[in-house]
Assembly symmetry: C2
Homo-oligomer: 150 residues x 2
Amino acid sequence: MNDLRDRHYRDILNAYMAKRGLRTTKQREHIVDVFFSQPDHVSIEELLARVREVDPAIGYATVYRTLKLLTECGVAHERKFGDGLTRYELADGEAHHDHLICVECQRIVEFEEPRVEALQDEIAKKHGFVVRSHKHELYGLCPDCQRKGN
Amino acid sequence: MNDLRDRHYRDILNAYMAKRGLRTTKQREHIVDVFFSQPDHVSIEELLARVREVDPAIGYATVYRTLKLLTECGVAHERKFGDGLTRYELADGEAHHDHLICVECQRIVEFEEPRVEALQDEIAKKHGFVVRSHKHELYGLCPDCQRKGN
DNA sequence: TTATATGCAAATTGTTTGCAAGTAT
DNA sequence: ATACTTGCAAACAATTTGCATATAA
């Protein structure tokens, strides 16, 4: 349903692999397919489970290695929300969103706020920093979990 | 040099320990003393090293357990900046600051920006969330590391 | 006394790596 | 053919836990 975007990222990946003489294998194809079809913020575990539906013999080291590859070439981003798991999402270069995380049900909602970005630049400048990336996460209760008490 | 603040936190800790029948030991006293005298964002390793200057026999499990205790009773906060280490800082309830982190030298600088807080509330409300805490980190190059090239 | 703490080492968890066998080019 | 890849298991790093011993109350 998002062919253009997927195509763009696959092109980047292919260019990166070609440049380094890396090879296309069926495992990599499966993992990449699943990653593109998956909602954002997948963990390795989730990805591995889905990938094994297609090919049960795939090992988790291969998933780790492939996600590392996707991260290196800029197609994926690693995210660590304090629960000990690393999650991955599509890089999504232009629209860098941030996250609201429900501490009850772990639901993750994305938001975007240009005014915060502007303030960040101001803050960094004040301290003489050059910002490369940022992390802005709000932890709390989502509407559903508020309703359910607590 | 910050007796009142320390006293306040020690009171909280003592109340918490009393309520649960936990005991005061010389190890805990040393660890707590070092934690209060330490600049913010200490890792377990750093803390253990400093504590062992006072009592070389203290084990790292005890440091972990004591910091967990301090976290449970609300005196300390856990922080995870993506380098794999958990760091601890005084809870410091009122003035909740955020962080600029140098990706080269790992230097950590604190900042405070009420206008960002205001925007956060606005964002949360828009999504129906009730915010409990947040994390706002800017990763980049500090002035020194910019100068050193890279 | 007796229940809590400690230090050690072993266990756990998430992730990485070495290597022999497999495979894309 | 050759060099990259894979799956497995072992290695790792950070943290947690089980247990016998030590100790605060």
